[in-house]
Every structure is written in C-alpha cells, then in structure tokens.
C-alpha cells in the first residue's frame, strides 16, 4: 500500500497547544512520525538578557501556565545558587506546599485533557472542577489564578494567609475522596482501558537513552524523581515515596500521575506538620557575581533545569532553560511507531504536553 504523510495540527484538538505532528502511515498503521515545534517560540532566553534578575520572575511564570509556580521556583533556585543566597526554612516549607499544590493542579489539568482526548467528557468536567479548588488555594496565597509571581529570590513574597492550613487540609480531605471517584470513571471504564493498555510502549532503556523524564519515565518503571534523587528545598526532610508503574504504556503513565496526586497530598500534610515559624524571605543582592550556576527540579512534567551565567551586572549574561517536554516530544516517534492513527491522541495525551515550555 502507498505510504503517506498526515499532518496533525498545528492546531489539532489533541495537541494542547500549537504544534504539528507529522505521521507517516501505511494504511492505518504509523510507520514514522515527526514532531515539528517552534510555532510558539518567543525567544524567552534572549529576552531575559535584557531584564534585571527580579524582573524575570513573572516571565518565568509564563513558561508554562499549567505549572507556573514550579518554573518561577526553578528560576529563583538557580539565581539563589548563583548569588549564594540562603533561603529561610519556613520559606522552604511554604515552597514545598505550593509546589505540590501546583503539581496536583497540573496533573488535574492533564487528567481533564486526557479525558477529552479519549471521549470521557465526564472525566474532563470533574477534573476541571476539582482543579478550581487548588487554583483557589494558590490564588489565596498569591492573588493570581495561574501566573502567580509568588516566588522571590531569597524566599517567597509573603507568608501564607490566615486559615490557609485549615482550608488546604479540608481541600485535601475532600480531594482524596474525589480521586476514588475518578478511578470509577477512568479505571473502571472498559473503553479507557482498551485505549491505553498496551498502547504507546516506551521501554525503560529507550526512555533513559532518549532523556525522557518525569511521569513518562516513571511509567516505564524507572525509580527516578529529582525530588528524591537530587533533593532541593526540604524534600529530603520529608517522608514520601516515588510513584512508579512497570508497564511502560499509556495506562502506566496515567497511573503514575494518579499516584503522584495522592503522594502530593501526603507531602503537603507532612510539610504543614513540620513547618517552623520564622521569616519567609531574605534580602538578595541586585548584582550577581561573575560565575555560573545551575539548578534542577522535578516539574510536574519531568526534569527542569536552568543554567545561568552572571557577569557582575544586574542582568544575566545567559539563561538557559531545559524543559522536560522538549525532550519528551523528541522521543514520541518511538512511542508512536507500529500503532494506529486512532491511537495517536491516547499516546500524545499521555505525554502531558505544554508548548509554552517546549518552545520557550
């Protein structure tokens, strides 16, 4: 049969952003695939070279609106490393709490999107509904719903609002019951299982070699999580587990994210118990020394890294962002080959794309 290339996107309902997936098909079987990125490229790294260090924090929020807390945290972490700033302990605990809230919100958005990809509209509505609760919490902390501008070089902008702990714990109790409900909708759905189990296989060896990180890597059974592997903030003082699943398919990646949401609830509760009193911010210098530094964190989507070069001025000489999805997308051809065109939404959806951070 004649082979042909099909363009999915630039704006395909499955793509969750602006990009193009070219798939080469033989009949209905995918024989080759090529992701094309760059439609959203804003020259983010170049723009930072003309801004002072604190001015870049709201820009880092825009790297991915689904996980903006995580990106501005990473930026602050890299600059703190560069400037040798020590963050107060209370601020570290607050960071862990808001980061985990952000992780749940991000995974919920993924779950909702994945529901629509596979025709589970109820799943979409439910997951989006619960995401609102977490956005409310983050809004009460920062004043914004998606681009928080809350992290600061040397801590966080302000302390948690009154009654935040009470509201947060109530939300978590409520949410954990809801997680069981999602399992009724997703896990118990024969269609969902048929479309995700055994589909989009990414073997552990391939995942490691191709640099895939985050839930996609752990869905291949690899026990690597930067929070544990290269701990930052106070993750090494908390007692938690890495969530993995051995099946290497779309269902495994779904399962890992569901488990991670439960684990995030656990981490937040523990962080509240151990959180000390004290200041939440220290003064940071305006000028960075002439040296380089890098930091890496476990973003909801995988390993995120920032490499920053200071040249003695108040602006970075160079700031490089390593985004997890940029690398994961480069690995999708291997996950797509051999499956049918109808499997593409199931496979691509399981990656949890975010084009803002991919193109930067």
């Amino acid at each position: 049969m004649a082979e042909m290339w099909i363009n999915m996107g630039p704006q395909h309902p499955m793509t969750h952003g602006l990009w193009n997936l070219r798939v080469k098909v033989d009949g209905e079987t995918i024989v080759d695939a090529e992701p094309v990125v760059g439609y959203l490229h804003r020259g983010w790294e170049k723009l930072t070279e003309n801004r002072m260090y604190p001015q870049i924090i709201p820009m880092s929020d825009r790297l991915c609106y689904g996980a903006s807390m995580s990106w501005s945290h990473l930026y602050c972490l890299a600059v703190e490393e560069l400037m040798d700033v020590e963050v107060p302990e209370r601020a570290e605990y607050i960071r862990v709490i808001v980061l985990e809230l952000q992780r749940i919100a991000s995974h919920l958005m993924w779950l909702a999107a994945y529901g629509t990809d596979l025709g589970l509209l109820t799943g979409f509505v439910y997951a989006m509904r619960e995401r609102e609760l977490f956005l409310d919490l983050l809004q009460s902390v920062s004043g914004a719903r998606m681009t928080y501008n809350y992290m600061r070089i040397g801590g966080v902008r302000n302390d948690l609002p009154p009654n935040f702990e009470r509201d947060c714990l109530r939300t978590l109790d409520f949410f954990e019951k809801k997680l069981d409900e999602y399992e009724q909708i997703y896990d118990k759905s024969a269609i969902f299982r048929l479309r995700t189990e055994g589909v989009g296989i990414l073997k552990a060896a391939d995942a490691i070699n191709l640099g895939v990180t985050g839930p996609s890597l752990r869905g291949s059974g690899v026990r690597i999580d930067i929070r544990d592997h290269d701990p930052y903030s106070v993750y090494d003082e908390l007692d938690w587990d890495i969530c993995t699943h051995p099946d290497c398919d779309c269902y495994a990646r779904y399962k890992v994210r569901m488990d991670e949401m439960r684990m995030s609830c656990h981490i937040i509760r523990e962080a509240f118990k151990k959180m000390p009193d004290g200041p939440v911010r220290v003064k940071a210098p305006r000028h960075a020394p002439k040296r380089t530094a890098f930091a890496r964190v476990e973003d909801p989507r995988g390993e995120a890294l920032m490499y920053v070069i200071g040249d003695g001025t108040d602006k970075p000489f160079r700031l490089k962002v390593r985004s997890p999805i940029f690398v994961t997308v480069s690995a999708v051809p291997i996950m797509l080959k051999g499956y049918k065109v109808a499997d593409v939404p199931a496979i691509m959806g399981s990656v949890d794309m975010c084009l803002g951070e991919t193109d930067r």
Binding site: I208, N209, I224, R296, K320
Partner: protein, 158 residues
C-alpha cells in the same frame, strides 16, 4: 534491562569519578570544582567525544540533562549537563570552541536525548555538531539567515 537507581554495581562518589576521569584523561580535561552531587569540568573539544564515551561506558552516566551554547564574544562555549542515575551526580562540562570554526562532535550517537538540544544550539548559535543525524533548524524557519542568540544579534527596542 537493569533498572536505573537499582543498578547492581557500586555507586561511585564524586571524587571517585574525578579520579577515574583524571587517570583516563591526563590532558585535555580540567576539573574545576566539586560540590555534593555536582562536578564541574572543562574539556578540550578534541578529547570531548572520547570523554563522553568513557563517561557513558565506564562511569554509567546515562542521561543528558542539557546541552546549550554560550556566546562569550571572543569564543563560543558549549555547556553539557550529563547526569548519572546510578551515581546520583551531575557533571557539567564546558567546552570552548573558536568563533571562526564553531564545530564540535555530536554526542547524539551516544545519548539520543542530546538530539534536539544540539539542534536547538545549532539553530540559535550556529554551532555545528559533527555526525549529528539531522542538524536542521528546529524553532526558526529553515531559510532564516541569522543566529539570534549570538550577542551581536540585537533585539529591537533595547
């Protein structure tokens, strides 16, 4: 497949790795500093590929976190962050390359994860990676005649 993180062989400390690298490469590789889970090194661009091969085959560095370019005005630099799941360690390697001949060996044949990072570095800085399977523009249009992350490329309005 052995699972990373549960590798049967012994975990090496940062100084073990540094000693192994120094022994194998007495010339061409300088260790600039050590920190917990971090090693900073500089490498000569002609021994760089051999160093990477050694890191991958002998010291179980399995993962390329990041590859990027820097325009130091008088020269280019390529900065690599290569990490080891087994040794819980990130190695930062900085390689200087001359501006008039911006070329270095690609490490994509060793780690597939470097593929798009190298393409991006080529796209933004014009640094060419020898033996890269497909060194093409990734973000910018194919016919773009400029490399925007070079320092001599000025942004409008700044």
């Amino acid at each position: 497949m052995k699972e990373a993180g549960e590798h049967p062989t012994k975990k090496m400390s940062e100084s073990d790795i540094v000693n192994a690298v120094r022994k194998e490469f007495p010339d061409g590789v300088t260790i600039g500093g050590l920190a917990p889970r971090r090693i900073f090194a500089r490498a000569d661009r002609f021994v760089f590929y051999k160093l990477c091969q050694f890191l991958k085959d002998q010291l179980s560095f399995e993962h390329v976190s990041c590859v990027t370019g820097v325009d130091r005005i008088d020269r280019f630099q390529v900065v690599y962050h290569i990490s080891s799941y087994q040794n819980q360690c990130v190695l930062e390697i900085t390689v200087d390359i001359p501006r008039e001949e911006p070329e270095i060996d690609s490490i994509t044949p060793l780690w597939g994860g470097a593929n798009w990072h190298e393409r991006e570095t080529y796209d933004m800085f014009g640094i060419r990676f020898r033996n890269h399977p497909r060194l093409e523009r990734i973000f910018l249009p194919e016919d773009a005649q400029y490399f925007p992350f070079r320092k001599d490329f000025k942004l409008r309005g700044t």
